[in-house]
Amino acid sequence: MLRRTLLSAVGATAAMLALSGVAMAQETVKIGLILPMTGPFASTGRQIEAAAKLYMQQKGDTVAGKKIQLIVKDDTGTADVTKRLAQELIVNDKIAVMAGFGLTPLALAPAPLATQAKVPEVVMAAATSTITEASPFIVRTSFTLPQATVPMADWAAQNGLKKVATLVSDYGPGIDAEKAFTAAFTAKGGQVENLRVPLANPDFSPFLQKVADAKPDALFVFVPSGIGAQFMKQFVERGLDKSGIKLIGPGDVTDDDLLNNMGDVALGAITTQHYSADHDSAENKAFVEAFKKANNGMRPNFMAVGGYDGMHLIYEGLKKTNGEGGQALVDAMKGMSWTSPRGPVSIDPQTRDIVQNIYVRKVERKNGELYNVEFATIPNVKDPVKAAKSN
């Protein structure tokens, strides 16, 4: 037993040395990228990591004369691990910025650390509206669910849909989406019926049957992107598409990463979101092409673009501050605007949340592959929740 103890002590020391060894070089700026790389949300982590690495590969690893080092950590999707990793990165590796954060609790857990240690936290994926309020050091480059949802409600109301059923996964973001949609849609005189599905739920049939019974004009759906495909299949299998129920929702269900494999069941789904791999711009074409090339043909999705823009924001911020982190970096990020693969975006100086175009898209077949094809644009959308608060 003693031997085991000694062995493990030696192991710990070795690990420590390995980590602290690299911390010596002077002129490096370190970015801690904390992502779920294993577990059910691993694909989120992969997309963001791939995008971040692509960005560094394209723009080089030197900014303002300083070397940029990216440290990727796997938090397994567990919030207390995220927090510990963030703390270790801050304390031991002296990172200038932390970034990543695949899910809402994972983004919220290290928020107090960001405040305490004055380390900017760039949220590249998590989408609950309140996240940026948890610390003045949080900046977001993904989106907020209400931001993607409220335009959906507007579009639905304008296009003659009267009665909509909502079906969301029973957890934070799902409930957010449900609330945002319901509020916006009823405000425009629509009728809404709410359904919630447990997060771990392999079979949607009882819920879809309820929808079939209710006979709405459209079904608004939000489920985490991995489950979206099953949902679509079961939706079609039940014949709901043929009975004239439109499928609408924020873009998570028609995630670009999976869309092409979903097959014809996805055709015709109408979603609103900030990014489609099909977005028609030179920046996006270059991005998609480079991303696919670097990742064995994998198509970038909205997570990837969040990671790519997050890196851009960090790079540009560091350029402004000459490599300085902390409050100066956050201040530099505020109000910054640029043209992203998704279109024009900017960081709202008040809320530190992203302001971006939201596109209304329809799934169509294009050159043999399925894409979310954009057909309407709602420019410069702010997070409606925070916008409502400030008014």
Partner: protein, 345 residues
């Protein structure tokens, strides 16, 4: 003759109660890390907490033979109780731990009656079910628990009104280590007591244990409740030192991980959980730094090899090594004093 037998009996019965050199060394090393590994205090804090959690599983698995795949139920409840208390203004850490322990103990007591019957498999599934139901409850009661967003806004007061938690995790680690140590000493005391001996006898042979007059079910209820309280404290420590609670404190992988930790360290000698926690966490840290995506493969491989090599045999070997180590020490001592003992007789 009479007195030598009596001596054998006395030493034989209290041997387990005595602290060995290796044990003292273990805790000295642990204490030394407080000063010598300052940049590792965060992971050490996690190790201490998982170690305590695994220790609590050892109490029921190693000493009473109850298998559980739902031990996270108690861990998670403790975490939420401590977190919710702190969020609502009761920020004293120790008070929080006590309440967390009591809450988990109550849950342990109530659910213990579910695991008295049935095969190992039944017990695995019932404990698992309890944890799943609790996890779902926590998700549904988001007004209290924060649901899937996690419980935010926990701010802890200083420990004993003196020590504020710092960003380096030093106070947190010291706090967790001290709590773990105190509870370890208590557990160690309990397992060498007549009560602890009766638990081991139940694990070995419940039929005979009954025939010796041991109220088997009552003892099992007692130890299950105790282990639940321990797990609750571990959960409370996690909530207080990370100042955040999310649904995954109740998740299945918590229960599975703690089982792995305990098994890696070895079941049934209390140190298994602690050693397992060190090995598991360091391995996970090193492996996941090396290959963030695929580190689970290696953990899996280690587990498979461990079982194939004969998990219990390895633990026995470790125990034997410890024994031999002490044996040598004791033998030296007795060798040194043969004249005195001869004269006494």
């Amino acid at each position: 003759m009479q007195s030598t037998t009596a001596e054998t009996v006395r030493t034989g019965l209290s041997r387990r109660g005595r602290w060995g050199l290796g044990e003292i060394a273990f805790w000295l090393v642990a204490a030394a890390t407080l000063f010598f590994l300052p940049e590792r205090h965060l992971i050490l804090n996690e190790i201490a907490i998982i170690g305590l959690f695994a220790l609590s599983l050892d109490l029921i698995l190693g000493y009473a033979g109850i298998v559980s795949l739902g031990h996270a139920a108690f861990f998670g409840l403790g975490a939420y109780v401590a977190g919710i208390l702190a969020k609502n203004g009761i920020t004293d850490p120790l008070a929080g731990l006590v309440v967390a322990a009591i809450a988990s103990a109550i849950l342990g007591f109530v659910t213990s009656f579910l695991v008295l019957r049935g095969s190992d498999l039944t017990k695995l599934m019932v404990t698992l079910g309890v944890a799943l139901v609790l996890g779902e409850l926590a998700n549904q009661m988001s007004w209290l628990t924060g649901g899937a967003d996690g419980l935010q806004g926990i701010s802890m007061g200083p420990i004993l009104g003196l020590f504020e938690f710092d960003i380096f995790g030093t106070v947190a680690y010291a706090y967790s280590l001290v709590v773990t140590f105190v509870l370890f000493v208590l557990a160690r005391r309990i397992v060498v007591s007549p009560f602890g001996l009766s638990l081991r006898s139940i694990r070995d042979n419940p039929l005979r244990a009954r025939a010796v007059g041991i109220p088997v079910n009552r003892r099992l209820v007692a130890v299950y409740t105790l282990a639940a309280a321990y797990a609750g404290v571990a959960g409370g420590l996690l909530a207080q030192t990370t100042q955040f609670v999310s649904l995954d404190v109740l998740a299945f992988h918590r229960s599975a991980d703690v089982m792995l930790v305990l098994v890696i360290g070895g079941v049934g000698y209390l140190y298994g959980g602690l050693i397992g926690a060190v090995v598991f966490k360091v391995l996970q840290d090193v492996l996941s730094a090396w290959t963030p995506q695929y580190w689970q493969f290696w953990i899996g491989l280690i587990l498979v090899l461990l079982v194939l090599a004969g998990r219990e045999r390895l633990t026995d070997k470790a125990r034997f090594a410890v024994k031999r180590f002490f044996g040598r020490f004791k033998a030296q001592r007795t060798d040194a004093m043969p004249t005195t003992s001869a004269r006494e007789i």
